[in-house]
């Protein structure tokens, strides 16, 4: 059940240019939080924002949650200027979650940019499962933190096109290309989160072969399924990213509708 609650910023650390790690202490106990779920966070600051903004939960322990965010606009700019002890209102936990990873085979995780966040949480929540984690970003300096934090159940692969890639689409292809060139793994299950076009390509690649769960993004207003702002087409009709998702079986997504 989604709760509206308050939180206090414990820390708000800059990890790389425009990438921040935000640690929030929740004021109230909430239901169990599962990997794939997100929060709707009020981000008002110098720049005025009206709607809350959705962010994947990167980790949740005791009453603390971690958010990895990238500064792209008004709300995230506000966040980047906030200091410890500031209070932020949020809705938590929103949306559905990833299915339980396999404990027999290897789970392949492919994250693009801040899309790494929910995948990282998956590896933490299931320490007994094995993960092959591919992390693609356009900046070399984003490797360090993630690599250092992953546990022994994770094989970490980093791929950046730093200095070479000028447009995002090209980059989005390259993490999959990099995987294909460098891996001989046959995963039992695939989880991915990142730019839509990347998840689309990944789905095409393994379609009908291996189960693929994708964590989608859309512009949201409410975040709890009432406004249909985030509604898109699937093979079984219109679905909301915020409430039916964000996690979907990749094969059911009609990608053009996103």
């Amino acid at each position: 059940m989604i709760e509206k609650t308050n939180s206090t910023i414990l820390s708000n650390e800059k990890l790389a240019s425009s990438i921040y790690l935000l640690k929030l202490k929740l004021k109230e106990q909430v239901s169990e939080i599962l990997p794939g779920q997100f929060i709707q966070l009020a981000c008002t600051g110098n720049e005025v924002t009206l709607l809350k903004r959705p962010f994947s939960i990167m980790n949740a322990y005791n009453d603390t949650i971690d958010i990895l965010y990238k500064v792209v606009g008004k709300g995230t700019l506000n966040l980047s200027q906030m200091k410890a002890s500031r209070e932020l209102e949020l809705l938590i936990p929103c949306g559905n979650y990833f299915s339980t990873p396999t404990s027999s085979g290897v789970n392949l995780l492919i994250g693009g940019g801040v899309g790494i966040a929910p995948l990282f949480f998956l590896t933490k929540k299931f320490p007994d499962c094995h993960f092959d984690l591919w992390y693609g970003t356009s900046r070399k300096n984003e490797r360090g933190p993630i690599d250092n934090w992953t546990g022994s159940n994770v094989k970490f692969h980093f791929h950046s096109d730093w200095n070479t890639v000028s447009n995002v689409e090209e980059f989005q292809g390259t993490i999959l290309d990099a995987y294909k060139e460098n891996s001989t793994l046959t995963p039992s299950k695939i989880y991915t989160c990142g730019p839509t076009i990347m998840m689309n390509k990944i789905t095409e690649n393994w379609k009908n072969k291996i189960p693929i769960e994708v964590s989608l993004e859309a512009r949201m207003a409410c975040g709890f399924g009432v406004c249909l702002g985030c509604s898109f087409k699937t093979t079984s009709g219109q679905k909301t990213v915020c409430s039916d998702g964000p996690v979907f079986n990749g094969e059911t997504v009609v990608w053009e509708s996103l």
Binding site: L50, L51, L91, V226, C227, L228, G229, S257
Partner: protein
């Protein structure tokens, strides 16, 4: 909700409601999701997402854009159609103790008639007729912007329906006095002012309109002065036609502005999306206002005139 404060009791013509707070169509889903935040029976009425005859997938993504103190939406009346609505939603609404309002939207006069007629006999308290959507037989001009089609549509809907009928018109309706006259002459029970205001945003990076359908509906605090103006004018034109105010209402003070300008009831839209508890919070603070000032809301309707 602490306890029921009779000072909040409101009347929309013949309809008596526990308080003047009603969700605006399309910002409340069909109520179920809000039920998990709070008991929606505290609301003056519930109002469902506009339903059309056929199921509609709505407009392409993106559908939401934030503007200075407003939001624009291009949802495009996505809904699963009246048959699904009757099967899946009406039974749930029927379990509620508060008033149940249903919003209908058509793209031709006949669609409105069919929708209204098909709701006869169901235990609902009002039908909000969303005549702020485009008439495909009139080149896409909104029903409420053309006096002839507005008159024809309201006339036919009134004739076929035995419900309490509300006409929801655009805030830009012009001339407004004519529309108000038609709504009242055609025997509608109330007017809702109003819907979103037509707006546009350009994505300057891609040099294209942000929304695929170009024009989208602007709502939220940005439009509050416009909605208040429309309510004020409607009340000046005809103080006997009950008015529902809608547009940018966020706080109990906003509600008081609308009531003093002439609205009997207020619909809350965008505020629900910003804070799911917006409506019960407003009700609580209206309650405190009425107690502190020993005044009941009904005394305040149109008092600023």
């Amino acid at each position: 909700m602490d306890s029921i404060n009779t000072k909040l009791e409101s009347r929309l013509g013949s309809m008596v409601m526990s308080n003047p707070i009603v969700p605006a169509s399309g910002t409340f889903g069909n109520g179920k999701k809000f039920q998990s935040f709070y008991d929606i029976n505290v609301l003056g009425a519930v109002l469902s997402k506009s339903v059309t005859l056929e199921s509609r997938t709505g407009n392409p993504q993106p559908r939401i854009f934030e503007t200075p103190f407003g939001i624009m939406n291009s949802v495009g009346l996505e809904n699963k159609g009246i048959d699904w609505f009757k099967k899946e939603i009406l039974p749930f609404l029927t379990t509620l103790k508060t008033k149940k309002w249903v919003s209908i939207s058509g793209f031709t006069t006949q669609e409105f008639v069919d929708l209204a007629e098909s709701l006869n006999g169901f235990p609902i308290d009002a039908i909000e007729v969303n005549v702020s959507c485009p008439n495909i037989h009139a080149g896409g001009v909104q029903f409420c912007q053309n006096q002839n089609t507005l008159k024809e549509t309201l006339h036919k809907v009134r004739k076929c329906s035995n419900s309490f009928l509300i006409a929801k018109i655009a805030l830009e309706t012009n001339p407004l006095d004519e529309a108000i006259r038609i709504i009242s002459d055609e025997g509608f029970d109330a007017v809702c002012l109003g819907n979103t205001v037509r707006g546009l945003a350009i994505d300057v990076v891609n040099k294209k309109p942000f929304f695929k359908k170009t024009i989208a509906g602007l709502s939220g605090p940005a439009i509050k002065p416009i909605a208040l103006r429309a309510v004020w004018e409607a009340y000046s034109f005809n103080p006997n036609l009950p008015i529902i105010g809608c547009g940018g209402i966020m706080t109990s003070s906003d509600v008081l502005e609308f009531i003093m300008a002439g609205a009997s009831i207020c619909e809350i839209g965008t505020a629900n999306l910003i804070d799911p508890f917006a409506m019960p919070n407003i009700i609580n603070s209206l309650s405190a206002y009425c107690s502190q000032n020993a005044i009941s809301l009904r005394e305040l309707v149109g008092i600023a005139h």
